[in-house]
Symmetry: C2
Subunit: 260 residues, 2 copies
C-alpha cells in the first residue's frame, strides 16, 4: 500500500496577509502525515517593481517575465516569502525545507517556446520534470518540502512557473509512490453551485457530474481551467483533489473531486 | 577513517561580478569529493535599499539590521544570489541545493543580545547550532549544500548572520563526522608576508608561527580576526584551513593553516 501524501497549494492572496498566512500555517501544522506545500507569489513583487520604476510588461493582457522582473520575483518568491513560510513552519514544529526547482534539480522546466507571444523567462513542465527521488528522500526524512514558483532549465536559467502547475505536476509525479491528496486552497469554501451564494459549496464532484455542471454553466468561467487541471491530475493517478478555503483546511466544508 | 569534506566560503566581492562568479563556480565543479559552499551577500542589497530610499542604519560605525533591511537582505541572499549560484552549479553538473539556516532547521541561531549596541536582527551561533544529521543526509545523497548568510531562531524570526561565522561553525560541527578542509576564498592569493607584495604568499602557517607573525606585525590588522577564527577551527577539530584566491582554487598558490 502506498503511503499517504498531502500536497497543499496556497495562492498570492494569503501570502499578502500575514495574519491569514499565520492562521493557515498553524492549521497546516495540525495536519497529520507526510505533506508538501507549494506557494504562489503575492503582490510584493509587483509593488517593488513599481517602487523601482520598472513598469510591468504586458502583451495582449498577459504579463511578460523579462530579466528585471525575473530577478525581483526570484527575490520575493524564493527569498522573502519562501524563507518566511519555512521559518514560521519551523516555529510551529513542522520540519519545513524551502525549495525552488533549481535546488537539488527538484523541478527542471523548459522555457516556454515563443509562438505568438514571447512570455520571457517562464517555465513549462513537461513529463519527467520532477526529481521524485530527491522528494522521496526528503519526505522519508520527515521533511515537509516548501516549493516556491521558481524553477530552472538545467542550463543555469531560472524560470517563473505557475504555482498551480507546480502543485499538480508534483502530485502526478509522486502518485506512483504515494497516495496523493492534492489541496488547492483559496479564499472560498469550495466549488459553489451558485456563484452568489458562498454557502452553496458542492461537497463532491465526480467526472460525469463535472461534465454536466460545465455544460449547464454552473461552474464559473474562472474555475474551469483549475478544475480541468484537477480532473486531469485524477486521471493521472492522484487519489483525490480538494478545493477548500485556506483558512478552513481542518474544517469539514470543502469540495472533494474524485474519480468515482 | 572519516570521509573528506571541503567547505568553501566566498564573499560579496565575487557575487557582484558575474564573470568572476561563473569562473569560481566552474572551478568548484572540478573539485572532487563531497563539498559545501557558503556565500556572503554582495552590494545588491545595499543598492536596492538605496533605490528604495531606505538609509542604512549605522550605530558607532556598525551596520544595524532593522526589519526593512532584513527583508531586503533575505531577498538578495536567500533569493536572488542563492538561486543564481544553485542554478549555475546545476548547469555545471554539481547537484547543489540552496539552504538558509531555517530550511530543515539547518542552522538555529540566537538573536544577538543587546548590550551597548542593538544590532537588530543579527544571529550568533552558539554551540549546537548546526543540524549535522540533515547535512550528513544531504551529503551522503551526493548533494552539495549551498548556504546563504540567513539563519533563524526557531521561533519564526529570520536572522542576518556573518558568512565567515557560518562557514567555520559548519566546519567545526561536521568535524566529528568528516575530515574537514575549510577554504576561505577572497581576492588575494593567500596570507601575504608583505602587504605590498602580492607575490609574498606564505605557503603554510602552524600555530607557533602564527603567534610570531602576529607579534612582529607581519599579519595585517584585517587578517587577524579571520586567522584567529581559522586557528580556533583547527583547535576544534577541523583538519586544515586554506586561505586562497577565489579565482585560483585549483592552482597551487595558497596559504594552508594546519595544527602542526
Amino acid at each position: 500500500m502506498r503511503e499517504g501524501l498531502k500536497i497543499f497549494k496556497i495562492g498570492g492572496g494569503i501570502i499578502d496577509d500575514e495574519a491569514q498566512l499565520q492562521h493557515f500555517l498553524a492549521e497546516l501544522a495540525k495536519v497529520a502525515g507526510r505533506k508538501l506545500l507549494v506557494h504562489g507569489g503575492g503582490k510584493g513583487a509587483s509593488q517593488m517593481l513599481a517602487s523601482l520604476g520598472i513598469a510591468p510588461k504586458m502583451v495582449e493582457g498577459r504579463r511578460i517575465t523579462d530579466a528585471a522582473t525575473l530577478d525581483i520575483v526570484t527575490m520575493f518568491y524564493a527569498g522573502k516569502t519562501n524563507k518566511q513560510v519555512v521559518s514560521l513552519l519551523q516555529a510551529a514544529g513542522v520540519n519545513a525545507l524551502g525549495l525552488s526547482g533549481a535546488d537539488g534539480n527538484a523541478i527542471r522546466a523548459v522555457k516556454r517556446p515563443v509562438k505568438d507571444i514571447d512570455y520571457g523567462f517562464v517555465g513549462d513542465l513537461p513529463e519527467g520534470s520532477v526529481n521524485t527521488e530527491l522528494l522521496h528522500q526528503l519526505l522519508q526524512a520527515g521533511i515537509t518540502p516548501v516549493f516556491c514558483a521558481i524553477t530552472h532549465d538545467g542550463s543555469g536559467q531560472l524560470l517563473n512557473t505557475n504555482a498551480d502547475t507546480i502543485a499538480s505536476t508534483l502530485a502526478r509525479a509522486l502518485a506512483a509512490q504515494y497516495e496523493i491528496e492534492l489541496h488547492f486552497c483559496f479564499e472560498k469554501d469550495g466549488v459553489l453551485s451558485d456563484i452568489n451564494d458562498e454557502q452553496s459549496v458542492i461537497p463532491q464532484i465526480v467526472p460525469s457530474q463535472y461534465q454536466q455542471l460545465k455544460a449547464k454553466g454552473v461552474i464559473a468561467a474562472g474555475m474551469v481551467p483549475k478544475l480541468d487541471n484537477a480532473f486531469a491530475a485524477l486521471e493521472a493517478g492522484v487519489e483525490r483533489v480538494v478545493i477548500e478555503n485556506a483558512l478552513k483546511i481542518n474544517e469539514p466544508v470543502k469540495t472533494v473531486l474524485c474519480r468515482s
